[in-house]
Amino acid sequence: MPQAFTSITSPAAPLMQANVDTDTIMPSREMRQVSKIGLKDGLFANWRYLNAAERVPNPDFVLNQPAYQQAQILLAGDNFGCGSSREFAVWALAEYGIRAIIAPSFGSIFFANCIRNGLLPIILPQGDIDTLAAHTPNPVTVDLQTQMISLDENKTFAFTIDETYRNMLLNGLDEIGLTEKNRAHITDFMATDQARRPWVYKQET
């Protein structure tokens, strides 16, 4: 069951580069177990370490800087999470402690994976993100109830998110459990569909 997301306050770590792909977020080499946990040390491995095998930290990488080591918010560039569908990338981010990512755009599969894991992906215009980046490492508050990002009382940014996704995140919903409540409804639809497209339901070889 994903953790519910209401509001967090944290420094926002700037990773302001376009097209950061999921191979970078979670190199395939780091996916060693059939598991959703045990991934946080592999997060951004090729950037985070001078020697990934020996885990020698790269002091220049943003998450290795003292101000950002505990960051729960990531500021990112266009098309963040593009590339491979590997949900391991989101599991690693969540396990590390990232709870929200703010970017001008996201890879669509990555975005969907975030929602399923209680990680809030926020789409914000580049200009607003630049303002947030200038503000760091001072803490930023992200409030999903009010859909506001605040630097302080005077400086706030509103963001939009689909009502359904907002609900899922606010309540830490188990998606399968919800849908199963409508099992009979789905069965009815399948019956109608089978009459219309019978060949889809017959598995012949």
């Binding site: 593009c82 998606e175 409508n182």
Partner: protein
């Protein structure tokens, strides 16, 4: 009302809203029926494992298929099980999950084994008008058959397995109309590299891209698959090509194709799956391919690509482009021709089917690859490999100096274990040139299978038509 093919498929799969008395917090997000689910060991095993742990069962196991492709050893004879140290756990977990849940598994020794997006069409598992998901981002490849096929993560896979549905906001529709006379030297791969370079890696912005027009109609199914495969690198949600006589001819009599009366019924439905004349698209793009050239990537995103005879563009101040140049070791204004390569790879769900191998072989025939170049060819499936061997293509590849592998995803991406040398410059028929994708510090240059073959012979990045005279038909 004029409908797109996406509209037609969507309307058949969107469930009506559930009864009001169900306090399901799903608001207005549509629920879509999922016809087929394809799993592989890398990201599918975890989904099955989670279902087992939660005591959940699969709604229609007969509509779920599994293959081993991502980390299987592809070295000749498969001396190991996995090419990744410790990777057997993924293979064992998929086997266990498939067995526990009663799923059809094309295991490593199966005659039907191969890369998901190569075998699904071979077996006619994908068919026009179906919704099909897989925890793999190149699932869009299968849209070439007029199916709505897209990549998802493991969690959404679990949801689809248990409920046979997914929540999905309907993506907008984009059309890319390809027209003009496609130059002989230009392949589907080159067209996509051009499109992504022109409009960016996020150019398709989560839309379903319909490829249409006379150039698409003239393409065979394999070329259409290459177009659709690269759509995700274009930022698309997925890709679609309306089925036609070529699609039906491909599917007929294949393993899972409808037979007899079912075939007639299916065909009648499939013939309705086209975008109406007046259908409107959120983005409608016409591309004249007549002036296009073979392409090659110069950076660390598929959007960093140029015609082989054009220089690396001037890099503006954009930090990621500078970083890409530094990583790959190229400079603004540099001529990509004559950039020496260390390795060449033909394989992947993008370009590893029979036509790719035939065309690459026609360039390699009677020639040898340059000294010092390590070259590998990985057919996309056991069936492709066997068909290629029947025509003697394997002998041509091997005589030229290529290693001829078993089927799998192989060196498309690095997982530890066997790979090209760290820091190598590789010309590759794959789909991603991200930093470190093919191995530590490895510099990947994306191209068509034909360009990979020509470059392997030349020893530097080279379009097939530019091979120098002295490489002509040397006696092997």
């Amino acid at each position: 009302m004029a409908l797109t093919i996406l509209d037609k498929i969507w309307s058949l799969h969107e469930l009506p809203p559930p009864p009001q008395n169900n306090n399901v917090a799903k608001d207005n997000m549509p629920l879509i029926l999922i016809d087929r689910i394809f799993l592989h060991e890398r990201t599918g095993a975890i989904a099955l494992q989670n279902l087992t742990e939660r005591g959940l069962s699969i709604r229609t196991p007969e509509h779920v298929f599994c293959t081993m492709d991502h980390i299987v050893d592809t070295q000749p004879g498969r001396p190991q099980i996995a090419r990744m140290p410790g990777g057997e756990v993924f293979i064992q977990a998929l086997r266990k999950g498939a067995q526990q849940h009663g799923l059809t598994l094309f295991d490593i020794d199966s005659p039907y084994q191969g890369i998901v997006h190569v075998i699904s069409p071979e077996l006619a598992i994908v068919q026009p008008g179906l919704t099909l998901i897989c925890p793999d981002s190149h699932t869009c490849t299968q849209g070439a058959f007029g199916a709505l096929a897209w990549g998802v993560g493991s969690s959404e896979t679990e949801h689809a397995l248990v409920t046979k549905t997914l929540y999905l906001k309907k993506p907008p529709a984009m059309r890319v109309w390809l027209e003009g006379t496609c130059p002989q030297a230009v392949t589907a791969k080159d067209i996509m590299l051009w499109l992504i370079a022109e409009h960016g890696a996020a150019g398709a912005q989560g839309m379903v891209v319909e490829f249409a027009g006379p150039v698409v109609s003239a393409f065979d199914m394999e070329a259409r698959m290459t177009l659709c495969n690269m759509a995700v690198e274009f930022g698309a949600f997925s890709a679609l090509i309306a089925p036609d006589e070529k699609t039906f001819a491909w599917l007929k009599d294949r393993h899972y194709a409808p037979k007899g009366d079912n075939w007639a019924q299916a065909l009648a439905h499939w013939q309705t799956l086209f975008s109406d004349e007046q259908a409107e698209f959120a983005v409608d793009m016409r591309v004249d391919v007549s002036q296009l050239k073979p392409m090659v990537s110069w950076g660390t995103s598929p959007e960093h690509a140029v015609p082989i005879d054009a220089p690396v563009p001037d890099i503006d101040k954009e930090a990621s482009k500078q970083k890409a140049q530094q990583y790959i070791g190229v400079q603004s204004g540099q001529d990509m021709r004559q950039v020496p390569i260390d390795a060449a790879f033909i394989g992947s769900c993008t370009n590893s089917r029979l036509q790719d191998l035939r065309r690459a072989a026609s360039i390699l025939k009677g020639r040898k690859i340059a000294d010092g170049v390590e070259a590998v060819c990985v057919p996309g499936s056991r069936a492709v490999k066997q068909a290629a061997e029947k025509e003697g293509l394997d002998k041509i590849f091997q005589a030229a100096g290529f290693a001829w592998h078993e089927a799998g995803c192989s060196m498309c991406f690095y997982v530890g274990g066997a790979g090209f040398a760290p820091g190598a410059r590789v010309i590759t028929s794959t789909n991603r040139n991200f930093e470190g994708r093919q191995g530590p510090a490895i510099k990947s240059h994306l191209a068509s299978a034909e360009t990979v073959a020509a470059s392997a012979i030349a020893g530097y990045i080279c379009a097939p038509d530019d091979l120098p005279a002295d490489t002509e038909k040397r006696t092997p």
